[in-house]
Symmetry: C2
Subunit: 356 residues, 2 copies
């Protein structure tokens, strides 16, 4: 690292990487990925590159549920699958080591799509965002100030059309997106209940994130009755992260003109809905609207989101909880843990803290 | 009838009625209803009535799928269930025999909620619409110019946000609502395909209603493949009347930013979805919105709808097909036929043609 700092264009470094072994069609396991030695990489953008590029040292990597979809051999989605044998791609925070793009210089801290490895050569640097360093931890740009936070912001304000005093339910509520949705709803003057899968998370929802109530869905034999208990007058807004039996129970408990923002990729491909959804008939008499969305369609709102979140976080109005694994070698386990709810808060991996 | 005409306030008449025997939780059968003799009714509004009322002679009754929901012992819907032993309620066209409401006089032709009987005393006459007689058949006020036509109009224009050139799919397309949705979509410059359950109906869709294509869903072993064949570029708008496996196949064939207007009450209570809906995961990557609606929420648009339909029908731009059963005694069979697709076009029952 010392040599690299002195003359980054001159050195090289060993590059470990996490690759996908092969496509899967079940829930991911640790051994679907492998940590491999990628050999020595020169610490500069190769001279023969097709266009402007940026070489970065990865600092923090984000583990997100949508990535499971990229592990399947399914090419009809909005984002292509990973390539077996190749490095896993994901969002990250990184430091620029070398750049042939006029927008970036060595030392810049950026966020954007990178690789699960120590150094990445990024050939579409225009998708990177330069981070203005502040007193907010850099890794928060993968959650509170990044894609999950923006998903919460767009989903709540643009899809749910919330009104003060409405009843809001959030599933997977302690996760990266859910914890923020709930807090935005509280700031908006809504009554907010969240569900999570452990009693520890339920306590966090109430104590740290200020939800009005929360429950452990694993301890409820009848989800419909549980929701009826928490929402005797029904649910106006459901922020859908999970699908399956929870969605069916919610449909029975929705109010007239209710809105469901469908964010969840966890029930992708029906894999967590083996029994199917049976209560869609509720859509008609209750005039419910259900809308799938992807945050990137609203990217023009990103600057206002960043201002809003930064201000409210600094003012102590929004709390944020992150679950950090240390070391690239622990990235596969961290990712796999998402699907059994092991993480408490937004799951990230620290590859390096060398921000200088 | 002669006496009634001479002095309607003086006479009386025998009143046959169709009653619901008991609540059901399966598809309706003819013997769930019974034709009973309601005895003699005086042909005037009783003097001790609680408020203004109207006595009508029923001319045409409407058989609509939503009525099945009222045959169940389920009180959580937007409309209460029928009462066992009491007359079936439904939309109809009727002639006013006597009125104590200032808005109606004997001889007026009205449409609105009435009973499946020869004479009905209507104690909420404010819900009745006076029909201006024209050269359009009166019974069309139960379809083309009534609730089904308005459902099509509202669903297509207000829920589907159609754009010229978009790809539109309509299920149950030869039914009361579907036939009109398809024609509105054609008038709007869309490409329209419909599905129906017999080859005769498929021919009607193409020949009479001007759909670009149509298919018999019962002859398609793979609905997903069938839709792929008819919509190689995918579906922008789905007008949902049926639920079940068709909805699952549509979800896989929707385009980006597609819209699903959920109108269908046929799959109410999941009874026609025994396997459930498995493909809702498509909502997210395709940014699909799915919205249930009920026409009465848009009642302020009714006058413009009536103008539009009347004009286009008279200009020969919209065709309409009605399936009329003659005689109150045939009403149960006509209604039951809806659920096996026996009717070809909008199902009505003619009780009487005495419009004078």
């Amino acid at each position: 690292a010392a040599m690299e700092q002195a003359n980054p264009r001159a050195g090289s470094a060993r590059n470990r990487k996490v690759v996908l072994r092969d496509y899967i069609s079940r829930a991911p396991r640790e051994d679907d990925m492998a940590l491999v030695d990628g050999g020595a990489v020169p610490l500069r953008v190769p001279e023969g590159a097709a266009g402007p590029a940026v070489l970065v040292k990865n600092l923090y990597l984000s583990c997100d549920p949508y990535m499971r979809g990229r592990m399947r051999d399914f090419h009809g989605s909005y984002i292509p699958p990973f390539k077996p044998g190749s490095v896993i791609e994901g969002l990250g925070v990184a430091r620029v080591v070398d750049s042939t793009h006029p927008g970036f210089v060595a030392g810049d801290i950026v966020s954007g799509m990178t690789g699960w490895e120590e150094y990445s050569l990024i050939d579409k640097p225009e998708q990177l965002n330069k981070i203005q360093q502040s007193d907010i931890p850099l890794s928060y740009h993968l959650g509170l100030l990044g894609m999950p936070g923006f998903t919460a912001y767009v989903g709540f304000y643009e899809i749910c059309s919330p009104k003060k005093g409405e009843f809001v339910f959030v599933s997977a509520a302690s996760g990266a997106v859910g914890q923020i949705v709930g807090q935005l709803a509280k700031l908006h003057g809504c009554y907010v209940v969240g569900s999570a899968g452990t009693n520890e998370k339920v306590e966090l929802l109430k104590d740290k994130f200020g939800f009005d109530a929360a429950f452990n869905y694993k301890e409820e034999p009848d989800l419909t009755a549980a929701l009826k208990r928490y929402f005797p007058e029904g649910i106006d807004i459901y922020f859908e992260n999970v699908g399956g039996p929870m969605l069916d129970a919610v449909l029975l408990n929705m109010r007239m003109h209710g809105r469901i923002a469908v964010c969840g990729m966890v029930s992708q491909h029906g894999m967590t809905d083996p029994a199917g959804i049976h209560n869609l008939f509720c859509l008609v008499p209750k005039r419910i609207s259900m809308k799938g969305f992807i945050q990137s369609d609203y990217i023009n709102l990103f600057p206002q989101f960043l201002d809003y979140m930064t201000k409210h976080y600094k003012d102590g109005k929004i709390a944020y909880l992150e679950d950090m694994s240390i070391g690239l070698e622990n990235a596969p386990a961290a990712f796999v843990g998402l699907f059994s709810g092991k993480n408490v808060g937004k799951q990230v991996v620290c590859v390096s803290q060398e921000t200088f």
